[in-house]
Symmetry: none
Subunit: 201 residues, 4 copies
DNA sequence: TATGAATGAGCTTTCATTCAT
DNA sequence: CATGAATGAAAGCTCATTCAT
């Protein structure tokens, strides 16, 4: 096995182990030796692959963010031509997000909670990612307004972030209740309904 | 002044100073002596009013939560009889929340970020508060359904949390952008619009 | 006791204890906890008075250098008018140096050996002190040439350092052999003889 | 090439590399991997030729000491019959020493500084070498007294070490100022002058 | 009641050394 | 014979907490 490949593999192993321990104990309560113990390696080995404790937290978050980002990039914000198209897109992305965080509970824990306990920089980084999601949703709304199936006077900037707020609230709640399928569809349905027609009788 | 009153006052002073320092430096980066220095007291004095570092964090969060809770308790979830009443209630509560977090930036910082950096227990506590807000919003929706101005088949439990997600997203974003008034009204308007009629053309 | 006075006293106590331990075990082999143990204090206390391990080494050396410098500053390089005056000055300073290092063996150990084991900076600092001694001896020679009792064509710069070399060699050797009085006078006599008339028959 | 020869050669290569790195960074600051990197070998290889870090320091010093010793062993302390002979011997040995340390700066650095940073044992070893030089100079003086060209009542033991002190002071200073030729001759001349006739007018 | 000097548990990190490949 | 991945002893340092004054 070429050396670079081994390094990549080891790094990933440690990343996995660290995610698990951090998700379980919390970042501050996690010692490097906890991670080492989890992996059955000497704690000195950890430092061969990561600079320091901060570094692993950053990498775990980066990994989570990358994975989440992968979930949405292949859906084209300009693809929908009717409100029905859009609703389907919504349901598709929603399903992916809900499923991802429910199937990757450790990453979810880090994404939603632990990152804030590391330091200001990482908190900021996470906020930037959420903001990125905001701009992404903006593009969907933009498209809807242009195509005419969304209200012309929509406050796109704000509405995009509001929608994001609902989605993250839902993802977080199903993650916490750990009742996967059960609530997932109710959330997707409720969010879609609110977005498309509101709740007035 | 009775002794107990003096103690209460001192406790509050320390709470204020601690809020400020924690909001500025972050919980983990805050030393007890930083708080003492901020207040011009000996750091031993701190321990006469709070058990330990954890305790002050808990108190700061409790204080923030109490304040926020005060903002909504005097609005009666059963008061609205028409969708217009409800819209006005919504706008009232929204305004209060936006204003509160913008005018109490230190508490906002603790509420939105620092609490997660303390430990699992406090994170859980914060989640419970948010859940409480969820049940509160449920009552508004319940009332709307009963009175007939909201959709009969509304998924109340989920929708309530979705609305909360929007509100907190908005409050957090205006707090972070620190542009108070400017975006506040756009958020309230956008959220109300989504809730009541959605965004379909 | 005023606070500043207490701090000064404590610092001095620690300095003494550190000198002892460093002289006994060597700088590298000395742990902060060794110093603390020697003094019967907690090792955290050490850090209330000194920034870090490096700091104490620097202070110990500084202290030694100050003490040694005190030994020579009150002898006026311009005071001697005859070669006999000069010889007496020589014997006076020599006696002081020999006695000092024999009576302050811990400082001697640090001065002659340990300082080099700390780092480049401290080594340089020590070299600068020795150079300072060189310039000081130069002034004696300068005076002797001007007054006419020393050779007119003396290479003052070099000769001054050569004399220093003899003195330090002697001080170091009597320190190491720890035979104080016994060799001291032989050294002073031999160095004086060499300086004044050489050893040719 | 016989195996033993290969080993000898490798050992010497590593010794050279180690000397360089130790002289550059200082013994304590030098890692085994620094030495390996310098030589372009794996750091495990180092341990095939030297027992441990301490061992290489010892060997580097031994090597330096051997080289220096080589410089003086071929001059016969009993060869000089007149004070002029002796003066020439002096100048010969002086020149060699000055040149050696100026042309082997890495060894000089180790000899004068780094050896003290290793441990007590090595420091002692170095002191023994210097003492050896002392006994060697003694033999020259002994010869001079016997032959009658040096003072009969010379304190040979002490004077020998005093002379050594001058020589090492000079060698060290020219090494540090790195001005080779320029000061070398002034030192040799000044030391000779002091030794033979002193500096009285 | 207020103080801050003293404390040491407990952490992160380094790096000489080993040994399987 | 050469390598470098793995290791863990060992050290410096921080800071929440205590308690004598």
């Amino acid at each position: 096995m070429p050396n670079a490949e081994l390094v990549r593999k080891r790094r990933e192993q440690i990343l996995k182990g660290a995610s698990k321990v951090i998700a379980e104990k919390g970042y501050q309560e996690t010692n490097i030796s906890d991670i080492a113990k989890e992996l059955g390696i000497g704690h000195g080995t950890f430092y061969r692959y990561f600079d320091n404790k901060r570094h692993i937290a950053e990498q775990v978050l980066s990994y989570a963010v990358d994975q989440v980002t992968q979930l949405i990039v292949d859906v084209d914000p300009e693809a929908a031509n009717t409100i029905l198209d859009y609703e389907n897109q919504l349901k598709e992305i929603g399903s992916r997000l809900f499923d991802f965080f429910n199937n990757n509970r450790e990453l979810a824990q880090v994404f939603f909670f632990e990152a804030y306990g590391v330091d200001r920089d990482l908190t900021t980084k996470l906020q930037e990612v959420i903001e990125l999601f905001g701009t992404y949703v903006e593009r969907y709304l933009q498209n809807g307004c242009q195509k005419g199936y969304l209200l012309q006077d929509l406050d796109i900037e704000i509405t995009a972030r509001a929608i994001n707020g609902m989605i993250f609230a839902g993802v977080l709640r199903t993650f916490q209740k750990n009742n996967g399928e059960v609530e997932r569809d109710r959330w997707i349905k409720s969010i879609s309904a609110l977005m498309l027609s509101g709740m007035a009788a």
